[in-house]
């Protein structure tokens, strides 16, 4: 089918709804089954493609291709379980699949109708299988708006997306309501920029709509650079049309006709799926001239970033699209007045844009009903670190951190004690365990010294050293500083030196005051968000974990046993039976002792690599 109008869009939608109903478990059609194999980057890395091909082959072989469809989704939310597959209409969730499992799934599940128990998700507490995906606490405690199509559509098939309401919001925005009304609805929804700063999206659009100019631009920031964060990548891989549609709506709101998606080169699968989505949308006339016959023109291009973290900053991103070194410039003028090629420009993050179609379709009030007073809607986090279930989680604003960690994350492995929740990546901070009642709300999180950020959430337990964490993030910011302004270029370097000195046991008590002074200076005087937020991890760890800094400096001790210069390995004579295992595995021959006599470690030779501890069956080696 070529260009379509609104009626034809609705026809495609109603034709596809039967298919989607199977996946929603609503209307089983003659035993038809849809096998949705997860196919995001994390799944591909866990070798999901051979599983997908094997299951297709086996279904073909058994003559089931008429009733069993294998569809690759962009789902890699629960990344620790990849490769995964959901079988609809029953919604059964199979995990950790290999091509060898395919026979059992086909013969037992598809033919005999019996679950393959060994491949089901098991409750980590009682080891009982939980067959249905939506009964697994990790999923049942989430609220999916941004990720609503995760397991339901083929991201490379526009008809699947249309059956799930794609482009209905755009049709409404282009044909039923005015630009002012779009902006008004976005304002009413209360959505704030999901890239990190949390600026109200409706207000940003309002500025750009009022700005004078015949040429304006809509940009999408897909330069997700925080270490460990992959929210935007998943949205692009699982539901690219939601982002395109969000941009069409934004374009109508500010009267722009050209857009760019700035996507980092490290996301080849996201770029591929975006490119396919754009081609399909163009073929339907959902991008280009006279969209859906509305008379409105808008087209967009994917612009591939070339590997610079600072290009996530709005002015740097625009300068990079202009083909220059991506270095931020002072504001004002703000991009809404003078952005890309000095034209009024809005830049929104992937997650923000993916929410817009739902907001327009269901109304701002609907969205505003979710969340807290000042933070509306949902937020996607990339949950990682010392937590049992790691992956993407989407929760309503206002959920206490402890619910994310325990109800969804399943708690801390090995019954360890939670020490802190690091939120906001290199721009964020560490929230200590006694503040775990803090809710996901921009202001509440800022109150703890962290920031909401783009969605990185790393759980830390008693084995994580907070000084070392602060050093890690400072090293990241220092390497990524573009070097344009002195406070960021020099300040992050000096702070890194001080933190390194402390972790190496050379710290002096005055260093903390110096760090704080430098931190305030870098924060107040840096040109862009990178420098302004780079000190956050340091300031928040000093605020909440001063005792750890003092232990490193005064007692020359690392309480978590991480900083190698400050720890010693000792063999407990009472526990060591002299089996000789540690002596054999030590890579530097630091362990000596006769057989059946307790061994000893030479601290001069020991490099604190931990191999002996891992090998000892008697827990005889301690870190002090």
């Amino acid at each position: 089918m070529g260009r379509i109008n609104r009626d034809q869009l609705n026809e495609i939608k109603s034709r596809g709804e039967n298919i989607i109903d199977i996946r929603l478990g609503k209307a089983p059609v003659d035993g038809e089954k849809h096998l949705m194999v997860g196919g995001g980057t994390a799944c591909h890395a866990s070798r999901s493609e051979p599983v997908r091909d094997a299951i297709r082959g086996e279904i073909e072989k058994k003559g089931l291709s008429k009733i069993c469809k294998v569809i690759e989704t962009g789902n890699d939310a629960f990344s620790t379980l990849a490769p995964v597959m959901v079988v609809y209409p029953e919604g059964v969730y199979y995990v950790h699949l290999t091509p060898d499992d395919v026979d059992d799934i086909v013969s037992q599940h598809l033919i005999d109708g019996k679950l393959v128990e060994r491949l089901l998700y098991k409750d980590p507490v009682n080891n009982k299988p939980i067959p249905r995906m939506m009964d697994i606490p990790y999923f049942s405690n989430q609220t999916l708006i941004t990720l609503r199509n995760l397991t339901l559509i083929d991201p490379e098939n526009i008809d699947d997306a249309i059956a799930r309401d794609a482009y209905q919001g755009a049709a409404k925005a282009l044909m039923d309501i005015t630009a002012e009304e779009i902006i008004n609805q976005v304002k009413v929804s209360g959505i704030r920029g999901r890239g990190g700063a949390g600026f109200p999206t409706g207000m940003k659009w309002g500025f750009a709509a009022r700005a004078e100019g015949d040429i304006k631009y809509v940009l999408c920031n897909a330069d997700e650079g925080d270490p460990g964060a992959f929210m935007d990548r998943s949205v692009l891989e699982a539901d690219p049309h939601a982002v395109l549609e969000g941009m069409i709506i934004a374009a109508k709101a500010i009267n722009a006709h050209q857009g760019y998606i700035y996507c980092r080169a490290e996301y080849p699968l996201a770029i591929k799926r975006l490119t396919i989505a754009i081609e399909q949308a163009r073929r339907y006339g959902l991008l280009g001239r006279d969209i859906l016959g509305s008379g409105f023109d808008f087209d967009l291009e994917v612009y591939q970033g070339a590997g610079a973290f600072v290009c996530g900053e709005e002015t740097a991103l625009m300068i990079s699209i202009e083909g220059k070194r991506g270095m931020p410039r002072p504001r004002p003028p703000f991009p809404a007045q003078e952005g890309l090629w000095k034209k009024p420009t809005i830049l929104n993050n992937v997650e923000t844009l993916a929410n817009i179609p739902q907001i327009i379709l269901n109304g701002g009030q609907w969205y505003a009903a979710i969340g807290t007073e000042r933070s509306k809607g949902t937020k996607v986090f990339a949950l990682a670190g010392k937590v049992i279930n790691s992956g993407l989680v989407e929760v309503p604003m206002g959920m206490p951190l402890k619910d994310i960690v325990y109800k969804i994350g399943g708690g801390i492995p090995e019954d360890k004690r939670l020490k802190a929740v690091q939120i906001g990546g290199p721009s964020g901070g560490c929230i200590p365990s006694n503040l775990l009642d803090t809710v996901t709300d921009y202001e509440a999180i800022t109150g703890t010294g962290a920031i909401m950020g783009s969605g990185g959430m790393v759980i830390m337990d008693e084995d994580n050293c907070m000084v070392d964490i602060a050093r890690f993030f400072m090293e990241f910011c220092q390497e990524e500083s573009c070097g344009k302004c002195t406070p960021c270029r020099e300040g992050t370097k000096r702070m890194l030196e001080l933190l390194t000195k402390i972790t190496e046991g050379q710290g002096e008590i005055d260093d903390i005051a110096t760090l704080e002074e430098l931190a305030e200076m870098v924060k107040d005087s840096s040109l862009c968000g990178l420098g302004q937020t780079a000190p956050n991890p340091v300031l928040s760890t000093i605020r909440h974990f001063m005792d750890e800094y003092e232990a490193h400096i005064k007692d020359k001790r690392c309480p978590a046993g991480v900083c190698k210069a400050l720890i010693t390995y000792i063999i407990d004579e009472e526990k060591c039976p002299g089996c000789g295992k540690c002596k054999r595995v030590c890579p530097v021959e630091a362990i000596t002792g006769e057989k059946k006599v307790p061994h000893t470690i030479d601290p001069e030779k020991c490099i604190r690599c931990g191999v002996c501890i891992a090998s000892c069956k008697f827990d005889a080696i301690e870190v002090v």
């Binding site: 080169a265 970033g305 070339a306 590997g307 202009e322 083909g323 070194r325 530097v588 690599c609 191999v611």
Partner: protein
Amino acid sequence: MKKITLKMWKEIDGIIQRHKEKSGALIPVLEECQSVCGYLPMEVQERISKGLNIPGSTIYGVVTFYSFFTMAPKGRHIIKICLGTACYVRGGKPNLESIQDEFGVETGGTTGDLRFSLDSVRCIGACGMAPAMVVDDDTYAQVSKQNIMKILDGYK
């Protein structure tokens, strides 16, 4: 050093022609030229400078700003030899030297056929596997002069 062939020059000129009229063309042109040549030597930058009418200094500034661009050719496979303490005392250095001798490549360099780039790295936290070697995304334990070439045979 890998030579820029006549065919590559033609492709480079084609890329320049295709983007010439667009504003902000430089970075896409550099990305495409790098995928043709594998790297962006001065001679290629000069050609782009003439073709797009952008000063060579600006191009050099952009190439050196973004980590995606490289002025030295990179191999199809990246070998990293760990020289952390544990690997060092267990023979990381002789392993590194045996690769250097076998393929005639310096640390930080790339073989003439662009098969391998060789790097040494600080501790990768695999002390129990010392001496360790990483090829692309695969980590190998207890590598030695005896098995190292056999492992690398698997990377063409």
